[in-house]
Symmetry: C2
C-alpha cells in the first residue's frame, strides 16, 4: 500500500478501537469535518445527503398523517423558557445565551432554542379555540443547541445538532397516546425499513423522562460495540405544557377543557447509528435505501479494448438510470480500477459493477456487494431487472447481521453481580427485574456507566394498545412480582440495562 | 357583514394603506404571526408551505447544475468573522452574539451567522487542493440573524430570516462569472415561472455591493405600491475571500493559483413579494404553481339535493386528485357556501368549483377564478382536462397584471427635479444618467428615501455575455456619455432609482 493509499484508506480497526475507527470513517468518507469551536461539526455534502434521505422518508410519512411543517424563531426569551418549571430545570444548565445584538446589550437574554416547547406552546394556545381545531400538529426541521461539555463525536455528541421536532395538541388523553405511539412507530419504521437497523422500543424510567413529560418513549438501537443508541423519542406531555401555557378549547358540550400535548424528535444521531452499524475496516457501508449512489460501474480495459468497454458501461449506466437506479459510471482516465474499487468502498456505494473485455465478450456483468464482497455474474440482458434484487440482497445482509447481533445481545440477570458481569463482559442489553427506584440504577451507573435505557410498555398500557407494531421488538414486561435485582425489594417492572451513547 | 365576518375578513385597503393591508393579509390568511420578541415572526404552516414550494423548485435546479447541500454551524467564532475585513465592517454592527454557554461565560464570543462566508471559506480552502476539485459548489438552507432595529414586516424585515446561501469556488474569473450569472438566472426563473412576478436584473452600485464582493447582481421586483424589492442576489467575490482564507489550488501546469469564489442567496422575502404582488382586498391571492391547494370544490345544496351534490363533488375531487391536481372538497356541514367562498378567497385558493343541483342536472361545473372572479361553465366530462387550462389562465392573469404594472412604471428623467418629482408622484423606477458617484445618490436618498436599486450590466460584461436570458428584462445601459442627472458631470452608466423595501 502506497503512502497515498494509506492516507485515503481507513487505518483504525472497528473491533479494537471503535471510537477512533468511527471518527476516521466519518472524516475519510467525507461525511463531516470538525468545526473550529469544540462541539460543532461541518456536515459535508455526503453526510448531508444521508440527512436528506432521512428527511424525505419521515417528512412524507408525517404529511400523510396530518402533520404540517412550520418555522418558529431560533431564540426563546428567558421569561418564556421559565414558564414551564421542568423545562427550566432540565435545560437551563445547557443553554447558549445571546446577550448582545450589534453593539448593544439586550434587555433580556435570549436562549438559542434547546428544544421549542416553550415558544410553540404559547402559539398552540392562540391557535386552539375549539374542539374543531384539534388535533393540531406542527413539525419543524431545524437545529438546536445544548451546551454540554463532552467530547465531540460527530452526529452522536455535538453542541448543535440537526433534528425535527413535532408538537401536537389533542382533545383527549387517548388521542395524545395514539399520537405519541404513531410517531414512535414511524421512527421504528425508519430504522427497520430505511436504515437497516432493528430497534427495541419502550419507555424511559421516570427519572430519565423529558422534562415535564408524563411518559417518554424511545427506540433503541444496539451498536456493534455493545452500546445502545437512543434513536428517537416521543413524549406524551400530558397537560403540563397545556396548563403552563393555557392551551384550552371549547369542547362539543361548550365546556372549556385543557388540551393534552405531545412532542417527538429524531436527530442526526440516526446518521451516527447508520454509519456505526454497517461500516467496516474498508470504510463506509450504506444500505441502498439511503446511499446517494446505489451502483458504481467501474470499467477495466487495456488501450485496445477501451472503446468497447466504455461504450458497454455507458449503455448499462443509461439503462439503470432510466430505471430510477442512482448509478455512477466512473470513467475517469487518471485512476486505475484498484484505486477506484478502494475509493468507492470507502465511500459506501452498496453495489459495484465490474466490466472488462470478458464481460463485453460474454454479454455479462460482474456484480459485487459492498458489505461482504460477494461476487456474481449476471446476464447483460437481465441486469436492469436483477439490479433491484441485488440492492434488496445488500439491504437484507445489513439488516440480518444487525438483527442477529441484537438477538444475541439481550441477556438476563437477576442480581447485581450478574448485571455488572454480563454487561462488563458482553456489552449489549441485560434484562433484570427492578423495583423502579432510581438509586438502584445509580449503583450500576457508578460502577460500569451502564444505565436503564428502557422499560417495556405495560401489556395494558394505552401506548402498547395503540401501536400497530407487535412482536419481539416491543418487549413485554416479564419481571412483575419478582425481586429487584439490585435491592431485593419487590420488582414492579423489567429494566433493560446497557451502556449508551 | 356580521361581526364574525369582520373578524375573519380583510378590513384594510391595499390601495390606501398598503402596509396595514399587507400585515392583515399575512395574519388573517394564516401565513405568519408576530413572535414575542420584536423583529421575529412565527411562520405558520400555510406560510411555510410557500417556502417549501420555493425550496422544491430552486433546490431541484441547483442539484441539476452541480450544487450539493451541506450544513455549517450556526455560530461563527469572532476571530473567523474578523479575517475578511469587509465582512467585519459590513456585518459587525448587526451581529447577535452568544456570550454564555450554560452557566459559564465563553472565552470568545460566537456570532450567530449573519451569512456564512467566514465559516465556509476555511473549509473550501481545505477541500480544494487541485484543479480537479473545481468547481466546488455547496449550498445550505438555513436561517441567519441580522440585528437591525427596524419595524418588523413579516418576510420583508425580520431579524431572523430563512434563506439559502450558495458558496462556490472556481479556477478562473470567467468560470466564477458564469456561476454568478447562472444563479441569478435561476432566481429570475423562480420569479417569472413560479411566482408570477416579472423582474428586472442588473448590478448594484459599488457602494451597495455585498461586503468584499467584486460585483453584486440582483433581481428586482416592482410592488404595486411602487416600491422595489431586491428579490435575490448573486455575488462575484473575486479573490478577496480566497486571499483571506487561502483558497488555492494546483493548476494543470502544477502552478499554485488562487481560486475565485461566489456566493448567492434568496430569502423568504420572495414570499413577501409574492403576497404583496398578487393579493387583494379579499385576502391572499396565489399562483397555482405554489398554492398548497389549487382547487377548492364547494357544494351548494338543499336537504333534498345534498346526497346527489356531495357524491358529484366527491367524484370530481377524486378525478382531479388522480390527475395530480391539489384539490380540496369542502364538505363541512356547519358552514354555508357564502362563508366557504369568503374563507377560501381569504386563503388564496386560485380556482373554485361551485356545484349545485343545476350543475348535477346538466353535467356541468361552474369554475371561478380567484384573481378576478371570472366565472365559466365547463362540461363535467372535460373538467379533468380543462382544469389545467384554468390553472394556467390564472397564472397568466397574475403575471400579465404584474408585467403591465412594471412596463408602465419604468420612466426616464435627466435632472434632479424630474427624478424627485416622478418618483414622488408615481413611484416605480426612474432611469437616469449617472456619474457613478455615491454623493449624487445621497441627495436623492435624503429627500425622498429613493436609492439606486440597480445599474444595467454593460453590453460587453462577462455577466451579460454569460446569461442565457435576453430581452427587455435585462436592461441595457443607454446613458453612457450624457450628463449625470444630479451633478452634471459626465455620466458613465444608467441608474435605476426607486424606493425599496
Amino acid at each position: 500500500m502506497s503512502d497515498d493509499d494509506q492516507e485515503l484508506g481507513i487505518t483504525e480497526s472497528k473491533e479494537h478501537s471503535p471510537g477512533d475507527w468511527y471518527a476516521e470513517v466519518v472524516q475519510k468518507a467525507g461525511l463531516a469535518d470538525y468545526a473550529p469551536m469544540g462541539g460543532f461539526i461541518v456536515t459535508r455534502p455526503r453526510g448531508y445527503a444521508l440527512w436528506e434521505a432521512i428527511q424525505d422518508n419521515l417528512d412524507g410519512w408525517f404529511k400523510d398523517t396530518g402533520v404540517e411543517n412550520a418555522y418558529f424563531p431560533m431564540f426563546i426569551p428567558e421569561d418564556y423558557l421559565e414558564r414551564e418549571k421542568d423545562i427550566v430545570e432540565g435545560f437551563d444548565p445547557e443553554v447558549a445565551w445571546v446577550t448582545q445584538g450589534g453593539h448593544d446589550d439586550l434587555d433580556q437574554r435570549l436562549a438559542v432554542r434547546p428544544t421549542s416547547e416553550s415558544i410553540i406552546a404559547p402559539y398552540l394556545s392562540q391557535w386552539v379555540r375549539s374542539h374543531r381545531d384539534l388535533p393540531l400538529r406542527v413539525n419543524q426541521w431545524n437545529s438546536v443547541v445544548r451546551w454540554e461539555a463532552t467530547e465531540t463525536k460527530p452526529f452522536f455528541r455535538t453542541k448543535e445538532f440537526l433534528w425535527q421536532e413535532g408538537h401536537t395538541a389533542h382533545a383527549t388523553d387517548e388521542a395524545a397516546w395514539a399520537e405519541t405511539t404513531l410517531r414512535l412507530d414511524q421512527y421504528h419504521r425508519l430504522y427497520e425499513d430505511v436504515l437497516g437497523i432493528p430497534v427495541l422500543r419502550g419507555r424511559k424510567p421516570d427519572h430519565d423522562k423529558f422534562p415535564g413529560a408524563d411518559t417518554t418513549m424511545s427506540v433503541e438501537a444496539l451498536m456493534p460495540d455493545g452500546k445502545s443508541v437512543q434513536g428517537g423519542t416521543s413524549h406524551h406531555l400530558g397537560q403540563s405544557f397545556a396548563d403552563a401555557f393555557d392551551i384550552t378549547f371549547a369542547d362539543e358540550d361548550e365546556a372549556e377543557r385543557t388540551a393534552y400535548t405531545t412532542s417527538w424528535g429524531l436527530s442526526w444521531r440516526a446518521i451516527g447509528a447508520l454509519v456505526m452499524s454497517h461500516s467496516d475496516d474498508q470504510g463506509l457501508v450504506l444500505p441502498p435505501t439511503v446511499a446517494p449512489k446505489q451502483v458504481v460501474i467501474v470499467p477495466i480495459w487495456q488501450e485496445d479494448t477501451k472503446d468497447d468497454v466504455e461504450q458497454y458501461g455507458a449503455e448499462i449506466a443509461a439503462e439503470l438510470e432510466a430505471q430510477g437506479v442512482r448509478v455512477h459510471f466512473d470513467d475517469r482516465d487518471g485512476r486505475n480500477p484498484g484505486f477506484k474499487f478502494n475509493e468507492w468502498e470507502l465511500n459506501g456505494v452498496p453495489v459495484r459493477f465490474e466490466i472488462g473485455p470478458n464481460e463485453v465478450e460474454d454479454d455479462e456483468v460482474t456484480v459485487v456487494h459492498r458489505p461482504d464482497g460477494e461476487s456474481t455474474v449476471e446476464d447483460r440482458a437481465a441486469i436492469a431487472d436483477r439490479v433491484h434484487d441485488h440492492l434488496d440482497e445488500v439491504y437484507d445482509k445489513l439488516y440480518d447481521a444487525a438483527a442477529d447481533r441484537l438477538a444475541e445481545n439481550v441477556r438476563e440477570a437477576d442480581n447485581r453481580a450478574d448485571i455488572l458481569g454480563t454487561i462488563g463482559q458482553h456489552g449489549g442489553y441485560v434484562k433484570a427485574p427492578w423495583c423502579g427506584d432510581q438509586d438502584c440504577e445509580a449503583e450500576i451507573k457508578d460502577q460500569i456507566a451502564a444505565e436503564i435505557v428502557m422499560v417495556p410498555l405495560g401489556e395494558d398500557s394505552a401506548a402498547r394498545a395503540a401501536s400497530e407494531l407487535e412482536g419481539e421488538r416491543v418487549p413485554e414486561p416479564d419481571h412483575d412480582g419478582e425481586d429487584c435485582a439490585i435491592c431485593g425489594d419487590e420488582a414492579t417492572r423489567t429494566a433493560y440495562f446497557a451502556k449508551s451513547y
